[in-house]
Amino acid sequence: MPILLYRVDERLIHGQVVVGWGNSLKIDLIGLINDQVAQNPWERELYLACVPPEMKATIFSVDEGVAKILQNGFEGKRAVILVDSPLDILRMVEKGVKINSVNVGGVHSKIGRKKILPYLFLSQEEISAFKKIISAGIKCECRDVPLAEKHDLGSLFDKLRL
């Protein structure tokens, strides 16, 4: 089975992911791909503590995560991939990962970010990364929790003239 969901979510493993998406997709494996978390034992432990007993989670750097995906390392699992930034999705795509669509979850306010949706604030760099992802033919769909309304990110950029 291919990976069920590639999700951009600044909070990585948290309630919306393990409860919301976990229940609706029957996730049994989370692949958390993030260079900073991967090299920080304290943060690894923090995120792994947030995984409920019915799921497993593995933490990878971007390079390790890409290698695992390209080797079909998630085969036979109901897996989701979590990253905290579109920049990491772009890096994965550039390293050869084939992605059909990206789920855009919470990326919250911060100095220098513009509001796109109540749960989505993006910097210019993040907007450019998403635009490159969209022009590579990858659908970017904003939806924080499974029952929420979907918004196509490309159309939102057009509407906001970004």
Binding site: L46, Y47, H108
Partner: protein, 131 residues
């Protein structure tokens, strides 16, 4: 006097503060903060500010509503930054009203570690099933 900061999702923290103070009267050294509208780093610095404000030489407790959530991660990060004798910080998850009543009843008469133990016990004792 041990300080108190409650961090929750949504409006829960405001409801808890209002209800607790409705029962026990206005409390000193008590702040609440919601995660709504704040980015990850913004929430960390906002919580840190509140914790520094309520901390005393007796310590401070950060209550969060749910273990394993972004609120809990934020509380853990702030608590780890606050280490040192001056700002002894404890994190307690699953905050409910019986826990808060216990906390504010005892916070001037016991140590931080005793208080954490007693508050946890009170929270667990408050959950009963009737059938």
């Amino acid at each position: 006097m041990i300080g108190c900061v409650i961090l929750t999702h949504g409006d829960l923290c405001f409801g808890l503060k209002g209800t607790l103070e409705g029962i026990m009267g206005k409390q000193e050294g008590f702040s609440v903060i919601s995660n709504v509208g704040l980015g990850k780093e913004e929430l960390i610095s906002a919580l840190q500010k509140k914790v520094e404000q309520e901390a005393s030489s007796d310590g401070v407790v950060i209550f969060v509503d749910m273990f394993g959530t972004s609120c809990w991660q934020t509380a853990k990060k702030v608590a780890s930054r606050m280490s040192g004798d001056k700002h002894k910080t404890a994190v307690i998850t699953g905050v409910n009203l019986p826990m808060l009543v216990k906390f504010f009843t005892l916070r001037e008469s016991v140590t931080l570690s005793q208080l954490v133990f007693l508050v946890k016990q009170e929270g667990e004792k408050g959950i009963r099933t009737e059938s």
